[in-house]
């Protein structure tokens, strides 16, 4: 482009001289590598930090689940004990009621027992996960 135009010859010489020195300073590449290395170190540190945070959170959740499993177990045991003591307390009346009715004679007691067992099982089903956590 206008390479042979004498009008530009002197300009070209001076401009090339000025612009040829247009370069980054010494150690430019080493500084880039340092910055890259710093980025890698920072990324590693962030990764380690995230892993530590994840482990902390997991430990907190495990502790909370264990606590909830204990509290559920205590609640179930309490309800069970209360029910047992209630049945124990009124055992005479219940005995009389059973004797007065013809449940024994009709043979439906086995069916009633099965229904009661199914009802207890259904009630406990949602808690199975927590009970598993409690048992582990």
């Amino acid at each position: 482009m206008n390479g042979n135009d004498p009008k530009f010859a002197a300009l070209d010489v001076r401009m090339r001289r000025i612009m040829s020195g247009l370069d980054a300073g010494a150690g430019f590449e080493a500084r880039i590598m340092q910055r890259v290395a710093a980025k890698v170190t920072r990324a590693d540190a962030i990764g380690t930090d995230l892993r530590a945070q994840f482990e902390d959170r997991r430990a907190i959740v495990q502790r909370r689940l264990r606590r909830e499993a204990w509290s559920n177990a205590i609640t179930i045991a309490g309800v069970g004990a209360a029910a047992f003591s209630l049945v124990w307390h009124y055992s005479a009346q219940i005995g009389q009621w059973v004797a007065a009715s013809d449940l024994q004679a009709s043979g439906t007691s086995a069916a009633l027992f099965a229904i009661a067992l199914a009802a207890v099982g259904a009630a406990l089903w949602p808690l199975r996960g927590r009970l598993t956590g409690f048992l582990m």
Binding site: A10, L22, G25, F28, E29, R31, K39
Partner: protein, 180 residues
Amino acid sequence: MPADDAIVQLIQTGRAEEAFERLVPAYRRRVFGLAYSVLRDRGAAEDLAQEVFVKLWQALPRYDGRARLSTWIYAITRNAAVSALRGRRHSISMSDPAVFEEAENRSATTDFGPEDAALWRQVDRLPEKQRQAVILYYQDERPVDEVAEMMGLPVNTVKTHLHRARASLADALGAGKELS
């Protein structure tokens, strides 16, 4: 460009680190020159070139080869330079426009000897695109199509910018205005 082909091949085979080690010396002058042509300050251009290379290092594994490697690198450099220039102009204009002018003159002239400083001032007074074209053209005696690729402009547009810039500088040189 054969060097680019080798770099692209390394990227595509998952050897981005090796590719980066080759890319830095191959593009050092071009990235710095492009940054300098926009910012007109050696320190700022060097900082920007460093940032660009760090960005390239992060982005290199995602380079998909759809654009030419050089085009991709120049686009990243131009965007970073324009953003840096906007930030710099804004921060300086917050204080005093005279400070901005003085800082620009100082940064331009202290990079060169006294003889060339006057010519550089003429370069500095050129319209932005003409100045960029001149700097990139003379830095490594680049062909106009490469200057056009670096500036992200059509070749004929760059030819026009270059012709006008050189004519204006040659006139100033001939007239001896500030150039001796």
